[in-house]
């Protein structure tokens, strides 16, 4: 009797345990749950904790409540200046309306293609209105906000809140990259040539300046030299004038004598002389009187 009671109690306990377990479910901090009854959603639980449901009849579908990532495949975009650009964007979103999410896209795989086309159409629309330069540099943050806002609006239909859409990469297509490389090359070649030319120019200037300075230095010296020579000659003249001025007549005579001597020294020129000259005064006449006709 006692044993049978124990067995029955045991069975009841086990069955009760299973039924009880089937009637309970937890919602994790990181998830949210919809409860389906024969496939029909009847409840939404977004707060974490312990919940009850009808066992066997009701099922729970769990959805992530965390920030989810979506990486958009690279997409070629044409900017308003007809420059092409390969844009690789990503989005971050929350599932805020699991029911709608479940009904419209069913799961994340279903969302992927739908969200992808929403993002791509907005990328094209927004980026198509600006030139490439704006996209790359000054307006990038603004443009990303614009894209995020319109993607958020459209993607609300899937039960998600798009928190951010960011352009991860915005690169030129391969052939345009080649063109940029060629431009960079020619720019650098230009720079190199300019540097060398400037070097040559500077060197030429330095040489020319050196040559000029040399000429000036020597010319200065020559000027000083001429002045010194002039001073010397002036001094000489003064000395001579001083000395010779005392008796110009004697100087005339004395200097002439010197000049004759110097001028005719060592000369073998034949000189035709008249015995009547002063030198030959005593030549034919003892009295020394020159015969004058």
């Amino acid at each position: 009797m006692n044993r049978r009671m124990t067995v029955i109690l045991g069975v009841i306990a086990v069955v009760g345990l299973f039924v009880g377990l089937g009637a309970m479910f937890t919602v994790d901090q990181r998830e949210q749950v919809i409860v389906l009854q024969f496939g029909e959603p009847i409840r939404l639980e977004q707060e974490p904790g312990l919940y009850f449901k009808l066992p066997l009849v009701q099922d729970v579908f769990r959805f992530d409540k965390r920030l989810l990532d979506y990486d958009n495949p690279a997409e070629e975009i044409i900017a308003s200046d007809q420059k092409r650009l390969v844009v690789d964007a990503f989005a971050r979103y929350h599932i805020v309306d699991p029911l709608r999410f479940f009904q419209t896209v069913n799961n994340e795989i279903g969302l992927r293609s739908r969200l992808g086309s929403v993002i791509n159409s907005n990328l094209r629309r927004v980026l198509g209105t600006v030139p490439l330069r704006a996209l790359v540099s000054d307006k990038r943050a603004d443009l990303m906000l614009q894209i995020r806002d319109s993607v958020r609006l459209e993607a609300a239909a899937f039960g998600i809140q798009v928190e951010d859409v960011r352009i991860k990469r915005a690169d030129l297509p391969q052939e345009n990259s080649e063109a940029v490389y060629r431009r960079m090359q020619t720019e650098r070649q230009q720079e190199a040539a300019e540097l060398r030319a400037k070097g040559a120019e500077e060197a030429q200037k330095i040489r020319a300046r050196a040559d000029k300075e040399k000429v000036v230095i020597i010319a200065d010296a020559e000027r000083d030299g001429q002045i010194l020579r002039g001073e010397g000659e002036g001094e000489m003249n003064r000395i001579f004038a001083d000395a010779f001025g005392r008796d110009p007549e004697f100087f005339d005579f004395y200097r002439s004598m010197q000049a004759y001597e110097e001028a005719l020294k060592g000369d073998v020129t034949t000189m035709v002389l008249s015995p009547n000259s002063e030198f030959f005064r005593f030549f034919g006449d003892l009295s020394g009187t020159i015969s004058r006709q």
Binding site: R66, S137, R140, R188, E213, A221, F250, T270
Partner: protein
């Protein structure tokens, strides 16, 4: 993706096993369902054949309860933090040391290594240690980017990050590591996109790194990831492979420029002292000339004055003597033809002078001389 399977369901199943960026990092501790079932079966087996009495059953039940209760103890390592969930709801964060949580099915435990610094390499891959052909491999799709002046630059960088808020880290973001990578790439391109190539290559490098770090942290905070970026290291910021030769040539051109200038400077430094030397010589020659001329003049003047002093004492005699002495010296070596101008004199004779003969004699004399 709906998860109706509890425990390890789906790649990012909420129950934690193998979840998160590091396998087992947020591992669930405590007995799982199968354990519990097995225990239940054991209990049934004990009941049915009737081997044990009620006392024995109670004893086993108590032992099992104690064992279950004891499985709630866990240790948190110094670099970790524990996060306890009560029926899936955040309960508390525990510090390193011995801790207790109510075991399954009441509480779940997640352990996060918060202090471990993680490292993301962007733009390159470091081969695992000991790998063949190891070293660093460039990843062009990540490293090449457009600069603000529509040039292309190659940038490699490392992001080091840690967890600052374990609960936020676990609960708010599904794929934290990928989020850090995506945000870092996006931030770097945004910052480089505002920088010119020349700046990004040289003086603006620090600025690029710090701005990217700030922007990355801002994005991660906006996502409430609970992640802190501890450091962003710009490894490389170079011109792309395709144009590197031309950049190097610019460096060579700079060297050439300096060389040309230095050579010219050397020329300058060589010829100017030469010129100074030459100038000094010219001056010295002039000084010498001046000295010479003055000295000569003084000498001549002095000589004249000395002679003059004597002359003054006996004017006629001295003058005559000087004249005669001078003439004597002048005529001594000279060919002389003396023609008396008396009868007919020079006027008649001169025309008949045998001038060629005289010249010949003169030439002969000169030849002898």
């Amino acid at each position: 993706m709906p998860w109706n399977v509890q425990g390890g369901g789906g790649p990012w199943g909420p129950s934690g096993g193998g979840n998160g960026p590091w396998g087992g990092g947020g591992g669930q501790k405590g007995p799982d369902i199968e354990d519990l079932l097995r225990r239940g079966q054991d209990r049934m087996r004990g009941l049915l054949p009737g081997g044990l009495g009620a006392k024995g059953i109670m004893l086993i039940a108590v032992a099992l309860f104690v064992l279950w209760g004891a499985s709630g103890f866990y240790t948190v390592e110094p670099e970790e933090e524990g996060v306890e969930l009560m029926f899936g709801k955040y309960y508390q964060t525990t510090k390193p040391g011995l801790n207790y949580h109510f075991p399954y099915p009441f509480q779940t435990l997640l352990v996060v290594p918060v202090l471990t610094v993680r490292r993301e390499e962007i733009g390159f891959l470091t081969a695992p240690e000991g790998a063949r052909g190891g070293g660093v491999r460039n990843v062009p799709s990540e490293s090449l980017m457009l600069t603000g002046d529509e040039n292309i630059i190659e940038t490699n960088f490392v992001v080091q990050w840690a967890v600052k808020d374990a609960a936020a880290y676990i609960f708010n973001v599904r794929n934290p590591r990928q989020t850090v990578r995506d945000a870092a790439e996006s931030a770097m391109r945004e910052v480089v996109g505002k920088t010119t190539l020349a700046a990004a290559l040289a003086e603006g490098r620090e600025q690029v790194a710090s701005q990217t770090e700030d922007l990355l942290q801002r994005i991660l905070d906006e996502y409430e990831t609970g992640i802190v970026v501890t450091e962003l290291l710009l490894q490389r910021s170079d011109p792309p492979e395709a144009v590197i030769d031309d950049y190097r040539d610019v460096q060579r051109a700079k060297a050439d420029q300096e060389r040309l200038i230095n050579e010219a400077q050397a020329y300058h430094n060589r010829i100017l002292p030469e010129a100074s030397g030459q100038a000094a010589q010219v001056r010295q020659e002039a000084l010498a000339y001046k000295g010479q001329v003055v000295a000569r003049a003084e000498g001549a003047a002095k000589r004249f004055l000395l002679v003059y002093d004597q002359y003054r004492l006996a004017k006629e005699v001295t003058k005559k003597r000087i004249y005669l002495e001078t003439m004597e010296r002048v005529f001594r070596d000279m060919n002389k033809v003396i023609i008396d101008s008396g009868e007919g004199g020079a006027g008649a004779v001169v025309p008949y002078l045998p001038l060629p003969e005289i010249q010949k004699r003169a030439a002969g004399a000169r030849g002898d001389g």
